[in-house]
Amino acid sequence: MTMHHNPLEGKSHFRGVWVFLEGRKGALRDVSVQLIGEGRRLADRRGVPLTGVLPGHDVEVLARHAIGYGLDRVIVVDHPLLEIYRSRPFTKVMATLITRHKPEIVLYGASKNGRDLGGRLHAVLETGLAADCVKFDLDDEGNLDMIRPSFGGKSLAHILCKQHRPQMASARRNVFLAPPHDPTRHGEIVREAVDLSEADIDAKLLEFKEFVREGGTRPDEADVVVSGGYGLGDAKYFGMLQELADLLGGAVAASRKAVDSGWIPKEFQVGQTGMTVRPKVYFAIGISGAVQHLAGMQESDKIVAINLDPKAAIFDIADYGIVGDLFQVVPELIRQLKDLKAGKGPVVAPLATIA
């Protein structure tokens, strides 16, 4: 299935901001909700309607609920074959709808399914897709300015898709804030049909096994995040960070370098291609502060940096910093927190200095 799509048809034919809504177990993914909020802002600036697109099965109630976040309408494609996410039928649905309705902008949550879909779809539609954006704007011509951190240096790249439509972009969870929900908001539910058959099912889900949460909150839901980077030097020191996180009632996370070094699974990675977190306090321990990492945590309320290198970029965005050996500072932090919890009095120097 290739959808031929003429980019020179005339941009003016393309109108409206769309948000791909991803359902999971009967609810909307956080990131879809967050993008409705951002989509609303862009649609208002463009003076165009904001439409959610919800392929699925038995999703009427969910569609109606979605309106409350700020959508003007939801296009529902309801079909049993769309009950769970599958690449090919979902791509077919989105391509058909986009060709039919010609939105100028389509936003996707960069969940695994979102990326799976966006990657296949943008090639088939032969249009631009900017991944993992942290900010959106509109340029003077009304083009979507898709902003993402640039590699290496402290810079942001502005990506434009000037000649092709729709302009597509993805953003990760927690980059944008969820809008409030108004159950009384009015909006239109449009039911559309797309030709689907068993032939479109080219992959079979054999089994799904949910992760058992081993207690403790996820980093992107915790109030306190204790994050470790390359400075830790070894996987075993994440145990020390876990102890600190437990004392603070928080979660452990990591920088990309720590993940790439094999010390901790990718699920814990904070950064542009990992999670975005916004805790009350973010401890960056042994993390240098590469801009891709900052993209994932720079909106934390308070940032505490502990690093041996006084020139580390992390200190520029920290509220509080200690330039020192984390192998001395972190155990000391643990010690004093334990004393604090035990209700012990004013802090005194330890009896033995850590050599």
Binding site: S87, N113, H164, Y320, I322, L337
Partner: protein, 270 residues
């Protein structure tokens, strides 16, 4: 479809600057690629390792495929050193500046020209661009099933079976071949090149270079001019102002002051 003959597995790889060595050219604001040590994009190496494991167990032919400048031969040679049978480099000046749309298109056309493929393996994303678009893009062009973000891969009863890592758990998927799979970074340990592999490289004849004309790729579909997205400008990051307060002294002193501040902010409760 395999009819008793060896499986033809294609592995798409990209050569990227070594992870720790990412440098930006201050003049062009693009990634410095010349004179910087390179490596096979790590998730692509994980993908190649899966292909090699399949070949360890059953008759298979592994063709490694890449798109880029001739310096990418280094990674193709390493792939053959690891055990791939042959390699194709799509290299052509007109490809310069291609974003993921022309890249997926050009690779798909090249794959069609190689033909007879049963399984296509890609890394989940690259360490330099990090979009993750090209693998699924190729699957879209070739109109074949795709299973993304997999950590385990097997061939069972002539079908591909893979464990996909969703955010909330593991999904086991099955698809008929030909199909495309994208492989998670770090899900296996890529093997080192062997002496016999390196000898094969030295003997030559295992890497071919194709131009767009060789493959039959329309020049109007590739290159910077024909890429839907462009980097319009790059500017410095503006972050909210931070207190930047440093605590000095012995570890116990600095930590005491830090805790005092955090308690005062109400961020930590004693």
């Amino acid at each position: 479809m395999p009819a008793g003959g060896p499986l033809r597995i294609l592995v798409c790889i990209k050569q990227v600057p070594k992870a720790q060595e990412l440098q930006v050219d201050p003049k062009t604001q693009t990634l410095k690629r010349v004179g910087v040590p390179s490596e096979i994009n790590p998730p692509d190496a994980n993908a190649l390792e899966f292909a090699l494991r399949i070949k360890d167990r059953m008759p298979a032919e592994i063709v490694v495929l890449s798109m880029g400048p001739t310096s990418f031969d280094e990674s193709l040679e390493r792939s053959i050193g690891m055990g791939a049978d042959r390699a194709v480099l799509l290299t052509d000046r007109i490809l310069g500046g291609s974003d993921t749309v022309p890249t997926a298109h050009a690779l798909s056309e090249t794959i069609k020209k190689i033909g007879g493929y049963d399984l296509i393996l890609c890394g989940e994303e690259t360490t330099d661009a990090s979009t993750g678009h090209v693998g699924p893009g190729i699957a879209g062009h070739l109109d074949i099933p795709q299973i993304t973000y997999i950590s385990e891969l097997d061939i069972v009863d002539g079908k591909v079976r893979a464990r996909r890592t969703a955010e909330d758990g593991s999904e086991w998927w099955e698809a008929a071949m030909p199909c495309l799979v994208t492989v998670n970074f770090g899900c296996n340990k890529p093997r080192a090149p062997t002496l016999s592999g390196k000898i094969r490289v030295k003997r030559g004849g295992v890497i071919v270079h194709w131009s767009c004309a060789d493959v039959g790729i329309d020049p109007n579909k590739v290159g910077l001019k024909n890429s839907p997205t462009i980097v319009a400008k790059v500017d410095t990051v503006h972050l909210p102002p931070r207190a930047r307060k440093l605590f000095h002294g012995e570890p116990w002193e600095a930590v005491a002051q830090l805790l005092k501040a955090l308690v005062k902010d109400g961020v930590i409760r004693p």
